[in-house]
């Protein structure tokens, strides 16, 4: 089984065909991680990112409606914790209810983050379960099956703990002799090529083939991935909203199409994310200045500043960062801005004309600080900063 990345691939071969040609249409999603916190960000920003995870559900369910899929498969880790606060599960039930459509079941699978167990959100006695509309099904049995279409059945098995060495895909029932229906498997876990998959619900290389599934819908890894063979693919749809910097092929759901003639399923990756997470390394002022003109309204931007600037340039850097990140009174150009200043050095040895006409004692102060600014290590750095403080004070006066 080899991995085939389909992100960005053009539409499926079924596009433009008559509806009757399609035996089954699915929307496959996973890893919503509702309630996930972002401790690296300031509280307000973290809340905004958390809210975005809830907002993306509308986009997912909207896409399902738009594409008129037969079922929505949610392959685990919809919540970041098995016991989320009501503020996370209650709105989800409302969204599911709002987007409900008869004959389009939504199947929720407990993953390793939100595993099934006594007292957890998926437990039949939990208020979340009571509040779910009828068309929403929770995989709360090991022998869960659900007819998706006249000739299509879903087989799924839930995670019951955070970690497990059991291959849930291999634990699903195998195709019986003479069974020609479309068999969809759904489990949550790590494929054989993931590090430490052995303890994270490992999924065998040939599980789909061995158990006779036409499509094995899985969740866990946030990137979109498709594993061979194309006739019986194993698919990670990717997280619908990015979680951290450096994630690739993220922010999508997978739309899956089965033709009546039982050829291989076609998979289309559709973007639903609100934010794009981007990390940029800035090593010169022109690059930084160019950022002001970019459209970053939906970008969570992390800037690594690796440049040495004069005091005047430092002022400009701060001004650009204010423009990008916003202030108490104005929104920034970027949706969210995170700045790593560890590589930003202000060379305040030359204060320009800032001290022209200043009292001699201030000039003397600058001279003394300059003498220390050339020293290596923190001594020099502190002196540089002191010079910059002096520069700012003199300028502001």
């Amino acid at each position: 089984m080899t991995e085939t990345k389909l992100a960005g691939q053009s539409g499926p071969e079924y596009e433009g065909r008559e509806e009757d040609d399609l035996a089954l249409k699915l929307l496959h999603t996973a890893d919503w991680h509702l309630g996930r916190r972002f401790p690296s960000f300031p509280t307000e920003v973290g809340l905004e990112l958390m809210r975005a995870r809830m907002s993306v559900i509308d986009a997912i369910l909207g896409s399902a409606a738009h594409n008129e899929v037969d079922a929505v498969l949610c392959a685990g880790d919809l919540f970041d914790d098995p016991n989320p606060d009501e503020e996370w599960w209650r709105p989800l039930t409302e969204k599911l209810r709002r987007h409900a459509r008869p004959g389009r079941p939504v199947v929720l699978l407990p993953g390793n983050h939100d595993f099934l167990g006594p007292g957890t959100v998926y437990h039949p006695e939990h208020a979340f379960r009571q509040a779910l509309p009828e068309h929403v099904h929770v995989v709360d049995r090991d022998d869960f099956t659900l007819p998706l279409a006249p000739e299509a059945t879903l087989y799924a098995r839930p995670c019951r703990s955070r970690a497990e060495g059991l291959d849930l895909a291999m634990a699903l029932p195998a195709r019986e002799e003479g069974d020609a229906s479309i068999r969809i498997g759904m489990v949550h876990g790590s494929t054989f090529d993931m590090p430490e998959h052995q303890t994270n619900f490992p999924i065998a290389r040939d599980a789909a083939v061995v158990r006779g599934f036409d499509y094995l819908a899985i969740g866990d890894t946030h990137a979109h991935r498709v594993y061979d063979p194309p006739e019986q693919p194993t698919v990670y749809p990717g997280a619908p909203e990015p979680t951290s910097f450096g994630e690739r092929d993220v922010g999508n759901v997978a739309l899956v199409f089965f033709g009546r003639r039982r050829r291989r399923p076609l998979i289309r990756s559709e973007r639903v994310a609100r934010f794009t997470w981007e990390e940029r390394v800035i090593e010169d002022m022109p690059s930084l200045r160019r950022l002001r003109d970019e459209d970053l309204q939906r970008t969570v931007l992390r800037l690594q500043l690796r440049l040495r600037v004069s005091p005047a340039e430092r002022d400009e850097v701060e001004e650009i960062l204010r423009v990008l990140g916003g202030t108490s009174s104005s929104h920034g150009h970027a949706a969210v801005l995170q700045v790593d200043r560890t590589g930003l050095r202000t060379d305040a040895s030359d204060l320009g004309d800032a001290l022209l006409g200043a009292p001699a004692v201030l000039v003397e102060t600058a001279t003394r600080l300059r003498a220390q600014a050339g020293e290596p290590g923190e001594t020099g750095e502190v002196a540089q900063r002191a010079l910059y403080h002096l520069y700012r004070l003199v300028r502001s006066g």
Partner: protein, 1076 residues
Amino acid sequence: MRLLSLRVRSFGCVEEARIELGPGVNVLYGPNDLGKSTLAHAIRAALLLPSGHREAQEFRPWHRDAAPEVRLTFEAPDEPGSGALPRRWRVRKVFGGKGGQAELEWSNDGERFSLDEKGPGVDAKLRHLLGWGVPEARARGARGFPGSFLATVLLGPQAVPGSVLGKGLDADASESGRERLTEALQALAQDPRFKEVLDEAQRKVDEAFTPLGKPKKGKASPLTPVRQEIEVLESRLREEESRVHDSDTVREQLLQLEAARTEAIVARDEAEAEAQQARAAFEQGRARMRAKAEEEQAAQALEQGRAVLTELRQWQQAAERHLGMLPAAEAALERAREANDEAQQRLVQAEAAVRAIEEGGDAQSRLTRQALETRRLELRTERERADAAMQRAEEALRLRERLEQLDEEQRALGQDLAAAEHAAAQAEASRREADAERRLYDALLRLRRWQEAKARVDAARQAADEVARLRSVADARTVALDQEEAALAAARLPEPATLDAWRALAEERRVAEARLGVGLSLVVHRGSVPVRVWRDEHEPQATAAGQSVEARQRLRIQVADEVELEVQGGDPLARAARDAVERRWVEEVAPVLDGLGVPDLSAVERRLHDARERRASIVRRRHEVQRELDRAAALQQRADDLPQLEQVLHAREQALAGLDRDALEQRSSEHDEAALEHRRAHAEARIDESQHRHVKAKARAASLASDQRARAEERERVHAELQPLLAMGDPEEERDALFDRLAAIEGEQETVDEQLAEHDEARARQRAEAVMLVRDAQAEADRCRVTAAQARREVDERREAEAQARGRLAQLEAQASRVDEPALRAEVERCQEQLRALPEPQTVVTLEALEAAEAELTTRQHAMREAEADYEQLRGALKHVGGAIARERAQQTRDALLAARQREHDLELDYEAWKLLTQTLREAESAEGRHLGEALGEDVHKRFAALTGGRYGGLRLGRDLKAEGLEVAGALRDLGRFSEGVQDQLATILRLAIADHLGTALVLDDHLAQTDPQRVAWFRELLLQIGARAQIVVLTCRPEDYLHDAERPEASKAARDAERLRAIDLTRVIRRAGVT
């Protein structure tokens, strides 16, 4: 720093002096040569001069050989200029070369002092406390008085103008003086922009650091939120890493177990394959074996058939043989039974003999033993009685000895008790004596305090009277001044500017008139009528024909009574101008002149000059009135204290009630107050000491009495115990008798015990012999029984063998009837054929080998099951660990922690940068010392201008406060060009300004000697102003310059206090050497 008290002994011309100084201005006055300057020297020496310094030679007493001694008490904070609460210090120095001594003590309450430094450390500490830039104390014998610019300014000796004005901080060996001044003058010295920058930088520093420069902690620190975040994240990370570790451990184990399980499965599979092969080979071998067995079985059946026939024959012979041997065996059985019966009978007899011996043998033997036992018991009882008697005798002897010992102790305790009671009585007497003494000195002190209170009340009353008088005079003078001022206002004199305008108008008028003065000439040629002519302003004159009349500008001519002519000179414009000026004069000036009744403007000017003089006089007199009122206000405070002082007096009066005041007054002159205090304290100490001794002696007596009682009780108890014992006889004799009796009993006991042992030994021998007989009989009986049993078995065996042979014969006969020998031979041949049909196996697997293979398989299966179980168990454990989630969350927390640490580091560097900036700003400011001169110069300039009425410009001070010259008429002039009086005044103003800014003590020794009384009065006011912030000690021989009469102490007193002013009559506090 503030000086509190000075005590000098054997110092130069001063034999002894004690001075208590007030907080404001202290005027210490006395005649020349009294030793005023010596006191100033003493203060300098106490603060600056090491006790072993060569300069101290100057202070050796003039009239005798003694070590000069100074004790100075002062207040100063631990760090100069720190603003911290001051601490009280007391320095004592005895000057004398190698024998010099120095001590520095400190106190928080001014009463209890603790040693801080001793010896050479004292001067180093003093220099630190002062912060005047005085160099470190030099070695003993060094030359030159240690000093600095500030030391000279604040404590300088007489004739200092040059030394103050001609020097600056640049000559100081230490920077502390400059730092101190820089700090004190900072607010004045800073440029506004610099100050803004410094204030902002300091504000940022204050956010993160304490005043001592240490990082703030807790909520006060701006780093606290990020540090708390770091703590939370670190704690969370520890937990998460622990979970990750657990997960990793489980995962590692799981991988190992999975490998082990796979290995076990492979091993199991291999073992299974091997077992299967072995099983097949074995089955093959077994089939061949079965065929062989069948063949053998067939052969065997054939053989068995043949054997049955053979055996049948043999059994027929055996049955006959057994039948023949049976009678002999039965006879042997009968013989054995008889022998057994006899042996049993002998055994019964032998056992009866043993029992008889164990029961005691014969009657004689039993009686003998019983008698011996009885005697032994009697002897034991007798011995117990003798032991008890012996104990009683020994107890009686012990008690008698204790009784004698107690009598001896009682005697010794009686002596000690008498001694202790005597000591208590002595201590009580001593206490009473000391108490009487204390009451006496207490009364004397009360009398003194009453006298003091009375003096204060008198003073307050005098002050009240003086206040009333001063206010009355001031009111009267104020009314007179008001009237005078009203009269001046009523005079309506023109303003000087108006007068100037009028003068201009007068001049204009004069010029206008002059322009008309062209010259006129009139000649009467003929006529007979009289002609009268007015020329200019002159009187008319009669003019006759032929006469001529000359005028300057106007002529009026009257001809007879009919004609009157007027001729004016000048052009019409000049005339019009003159008329206009004249009109203005008439309208503006003339009425005023008329109003004032003066003829011209000169008179008006004189009037104005007189009015100015009078106004100045009024202002001066108002100032005088104000000074009187100020004095009255100053005295009023003292008068205000009168009720309180009267209450104090009343209270002290009451405290004297019941005392013989006359007698006390007679004695009160014997000692001064300090001596009385000392003696009262001494008496109190004696009371305490006597009470302590009394209590101690009483306690000792009580303890001894208690011991005595305890011993008496013990004696009674011992006596009571001893009496009944003595009643039984002399214990010593009884003890000796008992010793003999016990020896006899012990001897007899030994004899009885030996006899009993012999008796028991004989019985034991008899029993051993009987037992041997029983054993022999038993052995014989056993042998007979065995023989009988053997005979019985022989008979039974014969009978059984015969029966068996008969049975077997019957069986064999039946079997023999079924044996078909030909059929059996045919079967054998078939089996041999079948065996030949089976192939030989390639490997021979024995049953053992097969079992071994099976066992190996079982072991492998077991191992595999165990591996499976372990694996499953660990999988169960895996459910309880964090797995990938834990790692993911740990990474998330690690990222957040890294970011928080970076933020913390960034903040730390930023605040360190603010701190560095603030330090550098201050250092740069300190280096840019020009400010000191500029800042202080302004202060000095203002005061000097006020003193001199603005006659001079500012005093130019250099960066090190060195005077560079005085500005006069825009030019800087060298100070040497000014009089000594002016230099002295400048120096004094500079010194006062420095003391004012530093808030420290200033000693002015005989300054302003060449200053006129008016300026001295001005200085007095300045001293009183600055005295509110800094202490000033003025040593002068001209008390009238600084003190009003009312401010001087009474004739009997050494000092007198007014507001911010203490006057000290040095003649009352200095005892000069050589004066008796």
